[in-house]
Amino acid sequence: MKRFMLALVGATLAAAGITAQAQNLAAGRAAFDKAGCAACHGADAKTPILPEYPVLAGQYADYLMLALRAYKRGAEEGNHAAIVRKNATMGVQIAALKSEQEIRDIAAWLSSLPSDLSTRH
């Protein structure tokens, strides 16, 4: 009986975890659309409207977060010792992302998408 209860609790937690992750991905997709990212990067995040814009789908989530952080630093005044990217377009776009959680959700969703990105060489 005890073993059964233990298994039941475990299964419930696992289900909750999966649901939570699905929720984050959905939130990421919503934030991606709301911030207007699809307009340049494509709704599937891998068919940008111009070849100058990167494919985002399937990229590592923590790298995407770093990139967004770097664009944000680039838009701010001040001398940053850390990694910075100065980009007129992204500097403006990043302003639409208000919270760290939004950035994390978008990055998680993007990395979950199918893509051709790889470490092939």
């Binding site: 494919v55 910075v84 990105l117």
Partner: protein
């Protein structure tokens, strides 16, 4: 007197115009679009694949994250990124050093190479 002034003026204008012809030709010859060559890139990728070619590879302290996957990325974007690292518009110790050693042709070759790996 008037005739000589006009003559000198006309001759100098013609001389300037003639010099423009020569300079124009030289200028036109320099503008050739750089096209990436995938075969030439094979000798240049060793600097890249040490980080970008290893699955799960991460950067060093203080900002630790996965080195981005570049195979299959848009060629034009790779070119822009490398040019920005070379120029300093993007700051990153390793990438600044790597890109600093690349010529425009190198950048075009590498971008063409990695973009085709799908």
């Amino acid at each position: 007197m008037k005739l000589r002034t006009d003559l000198i003026r006309t001759m100098s204008v013609l001389a300037v115009m003639a010099s423009c012809l020569g300079a124009g030709q030289a200028g036109a010859a320099d503008v050739e679009p750089i096209v990436g060559n995938i075969d030439n890139a094979r000798d240049k990728i060793s600097m890249c694949i040490g980080c970008h070619g290893i699955k799960g590879y991460k950067t060093a302290f203080p900002e630790v994250y996965h080195v981005p996957m570049i195979a299959g990325q848009n060629a034009k974007y790779i070119e822009i990124a490398l040019a920005e690292y070379r120029k300093g518009t993007r700051s990153h110790p390793t990438m600044n050093a790597v890109a600093g050693s690349l010529s425009d042709q190198d950048i075009a070759d590498l971008a063409a190479y990695f973009s085709r790996l799908k």
